[in-house]
């Protein structure tokens, strides 16, 4: 536990920029909100890049003591490898969604301020601030406030169209999120009662495997699982994510669930002692495996394109949980591979799923509906969107070269390396099922429509280019050499014993 590191001030600006931007956008309103959001999210990518570069160069986490006051009384901000990597992912996806949203969420000419555009740009900044707080926070209660902010921003973005179905599914999401955060806070109270601190670093140094600690971890896990929609708590997610406007769906599926996952890792890998965590990890991975199989099978049978993509999120979240028993198996090399595999799965899914939701929105807009069985002609109307959907699909299936392939390959080899071959079987089976539903969409889209079919309206290329760029990033992650990912190991407990950066 050390004080503020050189470059720690970057963390303050990563948080203060979108927060201040949101306040300014809210006060100035109208078109100013869009300009402020684009500028702040653009700068956000630069800041996230700088944070990642500093962490990589130092080979150690960046830290900042807020107010110059050390924990346990003060609050710490911290960027370790996983936080830096997810921060960079989030900032790029946020900027891409903002660029995508310029067409759909422009303030109409003739009015000073319109509801949906003003709300969209302001919530985008709020979401960015909440994600920064959730990824950089090192204090369990501060993270609770960040999680609540994340819920407010995410559900408001999802209701932007003002349809009754959106209000209903977002209200259901809100109840799940509120139960989730109450259980999380309950665990926080128990941990404070047991250790007199809420700092993750201090807890990691002192945690015992006694009854209050284990109950706290169990409650926090249950709460975070409800927020991540892990099977069997997944039923709220598909309508909530599929019913939202495309830009919001991309953020919800791509980023919001990942923030809760990083928090879950903080509890399992940092706070909990290794022995009980290792013993309970197969249970979570079992739920993850069930999510992969059930989510993929249900996705395969969906009639609606956006629901198909949303059920695919249920399945892909499952992969994240496979990393837990592998990281906690006590094998240093397997833990290193599984950790990278899990983080890479989170990042590549963020890019791929954002690309998929954005292109699904464009496809549905071009053919006038989103019935999977009747997508013929989409390939001609919006070829770039269909290509983006296909490339993102490659990553989700795990076909080389793609980020999804590397992630699943690492998890697979770690599973075999630790003798847990059954997880490998789940990864392979899940890949086949994923291939099935991606194929359904692509085959339908690429069917040539009958000559008598009406010519589709030409679409502006900008939004499709954004979707394609995101899909290309998810593929390109698989082309980088493993050495480029040394970043994500920095600050992981147990990683210090192994090789250096």
């Amino acid at each position: 536990m050390s004080g503020t590191t050189p470059g720690g001030w970057l963390l303050v600006f990563t948080l203060a920029l979108p927060a201040g931007g949101m306040l300014a956008a809210f006060a100035l309103g109208g078109r100013a909100a869009e300009r402020i959001a684009l500028a702040a999210l653009g700068l956000g990518v630069l800041l996230a890049g700088a944070v990642a570069a500093r962490v990589q160069a130092a080979g150690a986490p960046l830290a900042y003591l807020v107010g110059g006051r050390a924990p346990p009384l003060g609050i710490r901000l911290q960027a370790d490898g996983i936080a830096a990597a997810m921060l960079l992912t989030a900032s790029v996806v946020l900027l891409a969604v903002a660029l995508f949203g310029r067409a759909a969420h422009a303030t109409p000419p003739g009015v000073a301020e319109a509801r949906a555009p003003f709300a969209f740009w302001t919530f985008l900044l709020a979401l960015s601030a909440a994600l920064a707080a959730a990824l950089l926070g090192a204090d369990l209660f501060n993270l609770f406030v960040a999680l609540e902010m994340l819920t407010f921003a995410a559900l408001s973005l999802a209701c932007l169209d003002g349809r009754a179905s959106q209000f209903r599914s977002e209200l259901r999401y809100l109840f799940f999120a509120l139960i989730g955060s109450a259980l999380y806070l309950l665990g926080t109270a128990l941990l404070y009662g047991a250790y007199g601190t809420l700092d993750i670093g201090l807890l990691a140094a002192h945690a015992r495997a006694d009854a209050p600690t284990l109950l706290a971890a169990a409650l926090m896990t249950a709460g975070l699982l409800a927020r991540m929609a892990l099977f069997p708590l997944h039923l709220w997610l598909p309508p909530a994510h599929a019913g939202a406007p495309p830009a919001a769906s991309a953020l919800l599926s791509g980023l919001v669930v990942k923030a809760a996952f990083v928090l879950l890792l903080r509890v399992w890998v940092w706070v909990l002692p290794p022995a009980p965590a290792g013993a309970a990890a197969p249970l979570l991975a079992g739920l993850g495996a069930a999510a992969i199989l059930v989510g993929s099978l249900v996705a395969l049978r969906q009639e609606r394109l956006k629901l198909l993509v949303a059920y695919s999120t249920v399945a892909q979240i499952g992969y994240l949980f496979l990393m837990l028993p592998l990281v906690l198996a006590g094998d240093a090399e397997a833990a290193r591979r599984a950790w990278l595999g899990g983080v890479l799965q989170a990042a590549s899914h963020a890019f791929a799923k954002a690309a998929m939701f954005l292109s699904a929105g464009l496809i549905a807009g071009a053919v006038g509906h989103d019935r999977v069985a009747a997508l013929c002609g989409a390939g001609r109307a919006v070829p770039m969107a269909v290509i983006a959907f296909g490339l993102a699909g490659l990553s989700l299936v795990g076909i080389p070269p793609s980020g999804g392939f590397t992630a699943k390959w690492l998890l697979l080899t770690a599973a075999i390396g630790t003798g847990q071959w059954w997880w490998a079987a789940v990864i392979l089976g899940g890949g086949l099922l994923t291939g099935g539903y991606v194929y359904r969409v692509l085959a339908g889209s690429l069917t040539v429509p009958p000559a008598t079919a009406p010519q589709p309206e030409p679409q502006a290329p900008g939004p499709a280019r954004v979707a394609l760029a995101l899909a290309l990033v998810s593929v390109a992650l698989g082309l980088l050499p493993f050495a480029a990912f040394g970043l994500v190991q920095i600050g992981r407990p147990g990683a210090l014993a192994g090789a250096g950066p």
Binding site: T151, E170, L171, A189, Y192
Partner: protein
Amino acid sequence: MSATLPYGVTAAALIALGLFGLVAQAAVLRKILACNLLGGGVFLLFGVVARRGATAADAVPQAIVITGLVVAFAATALAVALALRLHQITGAATIAGEPESGPRGE
């Protein structure tokens, strides 16, 4: 120490009541009330933790509860606003049922 015991038990019971109400009640408003009972129990647990042992109450959990109360109020306001809009458009007072894709209404 002894003074905190009844409140510790009460906090645990409130949490159980809140969780039960959230599942067993169908009306949105009742679910919101159950949520607030659950939150009240969680905050009370912080209060118990703050009062244990030391002669003076610990200010840190108390500060946390004040922040938490504000956030919980914001969440309640949001839930009520969602419930009222849903009721205005569809007349429904629950979140059950398949999401239909109706036109944007008033």
